[in-house]
């Protein structure tokens, strides 16, 4: 299924960056053991996800079947319809049977009309049985299947456009952030960033969107420190970047965030609007946003299945661990999270080329040998996940407002990225923690990347750490600590959930029965039906 040229590791301008022998002499038995442990930790979570549904998974199903729009107060019809169904018959059987039963009965002509009627109370839902249930299930499958075929068509369209315009000629792909809060300001800024060399544009979301239990509707012009993720904003920005792709002769990718309480719906909208990458981490919402763990894992699995189907590259959020914990002490938590993210991703059907596993250049520059330690960590990730397009994140924590020192630090970050063959490089700004990037900040940052790339783009070829040197020893140490941590998680009575509850990650205690969005989690009853889940599960 890998589309031609969609792997940022492939078609590299400097093909020699892949050295013939591995740079780190990692024991293959230890590496296998790490993956086995990750599987052991992850499997009960997958079972848990299979046994539950959430309001957002069910709303994503309605959106996949074509339900769009919002009421005059701005509440999406998907929310209104879901709430009506839940009020009448509960959610434990899924939204599909009651909704399509009503449609089959002729209660409304389509989903939109049904939602409006349900909102004013003129439709009552029931749980169909026997032949009625069979008919409702068939109708639901037909509608949802049509939505999945639209997602498939968008994927083929991406593959066509990549063939026509081409991929970036070099790796790493250059990833730039745009976020003004106003989609109509974002579009020209994104186009300018693409002209200046960005291969991937990320539109940062408005602060707090992750905690909204609905997806805002329409084109939005005000956001706080970011722009709302809405279907219309997705469409507008993708169209703007399609123009840029044509103008520049390379396909410019678009990124957004499938995280927070609505991740399944946002993943679905991303598939429908041909977004190319999505931030999608297995534990970020739990640890950093206090979202209920079960809610997160259920939503996570569905959204990853959608991403797999849509040909979207996910970016995981391991950089966040290092913004709260010490980057040397907590290096192994990054590796553990990468291994878990890999397990959950592959289980959900994502291929290696879709795994933008995250890591970051966050070691305190005052630590002796900090650059060598960074190289060790970056190489470890590179070698553990040789086929994944790793996402390399710039320094933020030790950017102090001294923009001159910050510029140097970003240069070293870029160099580490080139030397260790990273796939996606998020461009660091010297004004990190000072202002949202100015035009000149972005220009200077891209000059930094271009200089390092042209001066040392092929350095990986000459760079072979000494077999028993600091870099090799440090990488082995981090891998050993990762195995220790995974072992400790497996030893918990309730595995990963207990480990999350007692503060094993990022020092945060997040019990499975607490956190935001818990009231949107429902255990499945016998007879639960969801055509989206069935069709996504039945992948080849």
């Amino acid at each position: 299924m890998t589309p031609a040229g969609s792997d940022p590791r492939r078609r590299s301008g400097t093909t020699s960056t892949r050295a013939r022998r591995p740079k780190l002499d990692l024991d293959p038995v230890t590496v296998r053991r790490a993956r086995t442990l990750a599987r052991k930790v992850g499997r009960p979570i997958v079972r848990l996800a299979e046994q539950h549904t959430t309001v957002s998974v069910e709303r994503a199903t309605l959106r996949m079947a074509g339900l769009v729009g919002a009421d005059p107060e701005g509440t999406p019809w998907a929310n209104r319809l879901l709430d009506s169904v839940r009020g009448d018959v509960g959610l434990e059987h899924g939204v599909a049977l009651p909704v399509w039963d009503a449609l089959v009965r002729g209660a409304a002509g389509d989903l939109g009309e049904l939602a409006q009627k349900a909102a004013v109370g003129s439709v009552r839902f029931r749980l169909p049985e026997g032949r009625d249930a069979t008919r409702a299930a068939a109708a639901a499958k037909k509608s949802v299947g049509a939505g999945l075929r639209r997602i498939d068509a968008r994927r083929r369209e991406r593959e066509r456009l990549i063939k026509r315009h081409g991929d970036p000629s070099q790796t790493p792909w250059i990833y730039l952030i745009v976020a003004t809060g106003d989609i109509y300001e974002d579009m020209p800024q994104a186009q300018q960033a693409a002209r200046e060399g960005a291969d991937v544009i990320a539109v940062i979301r408005s602060t707090g969107q992750s905690l909204l239990d609905f997806v805002p509707e329409g084109a939005t012009r005000e956001g706080y420190a970011g722009t709302y993720a809405t279907q219309e904003n997705f469409r507008l920005m993708r169209a703007a970047l399609d123009e840029s792709s044509k103008e520049l002769g390379r396909y410019v990718r678009l990124t957004n965030y499938a995280s927070g309480l609505c991740m399944p719906e946002i993943a679905t909208l991303a598939g429908l609007e041909r977004l190319d990458m999505m931030l999608n981490d297995s534990m970020y919402g739990i640890l950093f946003r206090d979202i209920n763990p079960v809610r997160t894992f259920v939503d996570q699995r569905f959204s990853r299945q959608v991403h797999a189907r849509a040909g979207i590259i996910i970016n995981t959020g391991e950089d966040n661990y290092l913004t709260t914990a010490d980057a040397v002490e907590a290096a192994h938590t990054v590796t553990v999270s990468q291994l878990l993210n890999e397990y959950f991703a592959k289980e959900a059907g994502l291929a290696d080329w879709q795994l933008g596993l995250g890591h970051a250049f966050e070691i305190d520059p005052d630590v002796p040998e900090s650059f060598r330690l960074e190289l060790a960590h970056a190489l470890l990730a590179r070698q553990l996940f040789p086929k994944a397009p790793l996402k390399w994140m710039p320094p933020t924590r030790h950017m102090t407002g001294d923009v001159f020192r910050g510029y140097l630090l970003d240069g070293f970050f870029n160099l580490a990225g080139m030397m260790t063959g990273q796939g996606i490089l998020l461009v660091g700004m010297m004004t990190e923690a000072v202002v949202t990037p100015w035009l000149s900040d972005r220009d200077l940052a891209l000059q930094n990347v271009r200089y390092v790339r042209s001066a040392a783009g092929g350095l990986a070829e000459d760079f072979q750490p000494a077999p028993d040197g600091l870099i090799a020893r440090r990488a082995q140490q981090v891998l050993a600590e990762s195995i220790d941590l995974l072992t400790r998680i497996v030893e918990h009575d309730d595995g990963l959930l207990d480990a999350i509850a007692d503060g094993t990650f990022g020092l945060m205690r997040r019990p499975a029965d607490k956190g935001r969005g818990l009231d949107g989690v429902v255990p499945l009853a016998p007879g639960y039906a969801n055509p989206a889940r069935e069709l996504l599960e039945a992948r080849t």
């Binding site: 905690l211 950093f288 966040n320």
Partner: protein, 274 residues
């Protein structure tokens, strides 16, 4: 976001240019910027003009620098950024004098503690964990401020209050009503209540805060009331009395400053009063 504190200006002076000689003990009062010679007044700046690169653009940059008081000014670098923008680096001499005696700063009246020190002070002073309730009240959905202070992720490289072992954080999130906030504070016997207000339409931040402080005054006897703290980008730090709260924090406040204040208010000050 965090800028060097204004008070550093007063302490980094090189020499007193106009002060009477023979009084080295008095801090420098009248200063000029320092390049490599005392009194040279040299500064550097960079900026972008929305115009194409060329002789005209360099002239425009020079004109701006001169209008800003740089004389002579030197455009040492000019670079096109796309067809319609040009970036400049300018060096030059300014003739302005800085009078440090005319600067007023709101000094922090409590010591800044590290998380370790704050934990220790709470353990010793309260002999239990400190409970802090946080919320965005009214229609304000911007949790960015309260989250920056409370969430472990923190702000400006500092971890949030959740990171402090001796602080128990109850973050109620956004759009919390004042009665809900009071009820939650009573339920968990809060020692302190942190409220963030970002939206300032029709002075909502001021009105909401007054409503909140009045409700707490009504619900608690004066000596049992939790410490009330409000923060947001549009607050003036001198407004605490007016708003009926114990402390106002403005833009750029870091978690350690808030934690240090809470320790000061709950441990140090109460001990002094006892």
């Amino acid at each position: 976001m965090s800028t060097p504190a204004a008070d550093t200006i007063a302490t980094t002076g090189q020499a007193d240019l106009v002060g009477p000689p023979g009084e080295p003990a008095t801090p420098a009062r009248i200063l000029r910027p320092y390049g490599d010679t005392t009194g040279d007044g040299m500064v550097q700046m960079s900026f972008t003009l929305p115009m194409a690169h060329g002789k005209l653009a360099e002239g425009a940059a020079l004109q701006l620098a001169q209008k800003m008081g740089m004389d002579p000014a030197m455009v040492v670098h000019a670079k096109a950024m796309g067809p319609g923008y040009c970036f400049f680096v300018v060096y030059g001499r300014v003739h302005h004098l800085v009078d440090t005696s005319a600067i007023t700063v709101v000094e922090r009246d409590y010591p800044l503690l590290s998380p370790k020190e704050a934990n220790l002070a709470v353990r010793k002073g309260l002999r239990r964990r400190m409970t802090v309730v946080g919320a965005c009240i009214g229609s304000d959905a911007h949790t960015v401020g309260i989250d920056a202070i409370l969430n472990i992720k923190g702000f400006a490289g500092e971890k949030g209050l959740e990171y402090y072992r001796e602080i128990r954080v109850v973050n109620l999130g956004a759009q919390v009503s004042v009665p809900q906030l009071v009820a939650s504070a009573q339920e968990v016997t809060a020692d302190a209540v942190l409220v963030s207000q970002v939206v300032t339409q029709r002075d909502a931040h001021v009105l909401n805060t007054r409503e909140m402080s009045a409700a707490f005054r009504e619900a608690y006897p004066a000596d049992r009331r939790p410490v009330l703290v409000v923060g947001g980008p549009r607050f003036d730090e001198s407004m605490a009395d007016q708003l009926g709260v114990d402390r106002v924090f403005a833009r750029g406040t870091t978690p350690a400053e808030v934690a240090s204040f809470l320790v000061h208010a709950l441990v140090t000050r109460r001990k002094a009063a006892a």
